[in-house]
């Protein structure tokens, strides 16, 4: 075994040297307490129990309790901060001590002092047992310390092949999507032939000067337009223009029947005023 392991065992097996029994010293002196060295109240109790030099099973609990209470007393005298765990244990042990010293009353509801003491012994034994197992465990031959695995393992080299799957549906869908996109992308909007409202107003203004009497809207439209779309646009724009002219008071509008022809007449005065404004 390595020395490290041995020292591991020492940690478990030997009581804290500060607590070890040295008969040439007075109790007060040898119970110099190094709280940091202990792992809780059970650890302290285990260490104290070793001073009795008997098997845990035969240990005098009363004696142990006295030792523990003394230990706590000492710690307090030295103004050492004791963790709550230690104090809870002290309180319980004080209770146990009183129970052990007083004559037992028969009480069905309570555990006897012996049973309480047995419970403490059980806990101490259990902790002691697991500590012994821990020491044995750590002293076993260990892989990587005493035994070794293959130092240069030969790895399994994995070659990955990629496989692909595609259904006819997916293929056709992709082609259709491309076609769809292509069709959409190919939409071209041609410039439409349009006779603008401005053009219509300008034409109407010019012609209203000539037509003082009621004239049909049709008469204002040019009759040489071959482009049907242009003709439609012109008609619509001229109609809008008459409405616009009527609105600003340059023309009067009349329609004698539903869907009948629309008649327009210029308003002279307004035109003059308008001319003045423009001039």
């Amino acid at each position: 075994m390595t020395e490290t392991i041995d020292s591991d065992i020492d940690d478990f097996e030997t009581p804290n040297p500060l607590l070890s029994k040295s008969d040439d010293l007075a109790d007060d002196e040898r119970l110099i307490i190094d709280i940091d060295g202990f792992e809780g109240p059970l650890d302290v109790l285990l260490a104290l129990s070793r001073t009795q030099k008997v098997d845990l099973k035969q240990i005098s609990i009363l004696e142990l309790v006295k030792q523990y209470l003394k230990f706590v007393q000492q710690a307090r005298a030295l103004r050492l901060e004791l963790a709550a765990d230690y104090l809870v244990m002290a309180a319980w042990l004080a209770y146990l001590k009183s129970r052990l010293l007083l004559p037992e009353e028969e009480n069905e509801d309570e555990l006897s002092a012996e049973e309480l003491a047995a419970r403490l012994t059980y806990q101490l034994e259990r902790l002691n047992a697991i500590r012994e197992r821990a020491a044995i465990l750590m002293s076993r031959n260990q892989l990587g310390r005493d035994m070794f695995a293959r130092g240069a393992p030969e790895p399994v080299i994995v070659t990955r092949y990629h496989t692909y799957d595609l259904s006819m549906y997916e293929l056709l869908k992709a082609y259709a999507e491309y076609k769809t996109r292509e069709a959409v992308a190919d939409v071209r909007i041609f410039k439409r032939s349009v006779y603008t409202l401005d053009q219509a107003i300008s034409r109407l203004s010019d012609m209203l000067g000539l037509a003082i009497d009621w004239t049909s809207l049709e008469a204002f439209l040019p009759d040489d337009i071959e482009d049907e779309q242009m003709a439609k646009s012109m008609k619509a724009s001229m109609f809008s223009a008459t409405l616009e002219m009527a609105k600003i008071g340059k023309a009067d509008l009349v329609q004698k029947q539903m869907f009948g022809p629309l008649f327009i007449r210029g308003r002279k005065q307004q035109v003059i005023e308008d001319d003045e404004e423009n001039g």
């Binding site: 059970l42 765990d85 806990q123 892989l143 310390r145």
Partner: protein
Amino acid sequence: MMKKMDNHEQLRICEALLFASDRPLSSIALAEQLPEGSDVETILDELQKKYKSAGVNLVELAGKWMFQTASDLAFLLRKEEEKERKLSRAAVETLAIIAYHQPVTRAEIEEIRGVGVSKGTIDVLMEAVWVRPLGRRRSPGRPMTYGTTEDFLVQFGLNSVKDLPGLSELKAAGFLDNVNTSRLNLLSDEEPNEEQPDLPMDDDESSSEEQVIS
């Protein structure tokens, strides 16, 4: 390809695979590389015999198989300079409690040791990959339970947690009985440990193999 493979060839294959690995291999993994109907167990048995007195032995760890250097040569191979995993006393003790009591909760570890488990202790053991959470117990608070890993078994040369040294003695002495974690248990008037019906094992997360001890 290997229509007719003799026993020697099968042994060579197992030998090569086990030699190439620095981790234990299961007999199932080995069987996969052998022709159907091969008797892996017999082959492993033969292989183990072949290496019985060699400098390298075939050992069964954590239910799997691996080659490792012979234990009697430890004196020669031991790596002193290797950073020894220096575990604290608390960590070693906690590891032992987890190993023997698994699945075990933190409160139970604390109860056994009679002192709180500092946060780092279990972390260190998990970092070493010796300890892992086994799942939550079906009891109030659903506390996490811990157990040991395959690495733990491999590290300490165990085939299963059942092979933990002195397990049966601990069990016989009643030290592995349920741990009463009510902190006032010493003061309480109830019989210790008898009734813990509220702590049935959780088996949705932890596999049954982990519960071999209890």
